[in-house]
């Protein structure tokens, strides 16, 4: 393989690793749109200094569309980021340590899935007056 060749090659033989390989690219394209749009709106169009808990409740998440948008972004990013870190762990840790770190990683992902979904579903929907 030449010196600058890309080495994260497509897994051969199918199964779980091949599915992850395709899903990393699929969620990657989705995140290109979702994450950059999210950043553009919340860091460029609106100054973060204005985005207190009240602003999120009465402006940003008073819209079902943006709640659904942010939840979809969360699902994509949880898969992409955690599977990415799983690859990093696989490169640097071996044996029992790799298994333990990967299990801890999956538990963190489940925890964030629950926290994010709970807050999207339970934050009171406040329709701004007027």
């Amino acid at each position: 393989m030449s010196r600058s060749a890309y080495r994260r090659a497509k897994p051969q033989g199918g199964g779980f690793e091949l599915a992850v390989w395709y899903l990393m690219r699929l969620t990657g394209v989705a995140l290109f749109v979702l994450a950059l749009t999210h950043y553009l709106i919340l860091h460029v169009l609106y100054d973060p200094a204005l985005q207190d808990a009240d602003w999120i409740t009465t402006v940003r998440w008073s819209s079902l569309f943006w709640r659904a948008f942010d939840w979809t972004l969360l699902m994509m990013v949880l898969f992409h980021a955690f599977m990415g870190v799983r690859t990093v762990i696989g490169d640097y840790a071996h044996g029992g340590l790799r298994t333990a770190l990967t299990m801890a990683l999956y538990l963190m992902a489940i925890g964030l899935f629950v926290m994010g979904t709970v807050v999207v579903l339970t934050l009171p929907k406040v329709v701004p007056a007027g």
Partner: protein, 120 residues
Amino acid sequence: MLLRYRGGIGMLAWAFHRISGVAIWAFVLLHVIDIYLVGGNPKAYDELLAIYASPIGRVLEALLGAALLYHALNGLRIIVMDFWPALTRYHRQMWLTNWVIFAVLGAIVSYFIFKPLWGG
């Protein structure tokens, strides 16, 4: 050392992709927890927001944007080479194009992020 090592562009692109990816992952951990506080403890969220909106917070915010933009652009480059291997011969041109887009968008985004600091 880094420049003399025979890894070339591919190695640099890979290293930046990995560093920016792990940084974004760490921010996602923090960000899901802070948004959870909006429902669970709005006062604590507002206190955290004051740190995010501080000058140091804005530098970190701009760095997050840089990590996101690099990872997004280089990720597309990887996908292009994975699905259209013939285009791998243009990997250097794609890498340079990405840095041009990165510099232009980065300058514009940074302007808006730091503008409130001088009362804009």
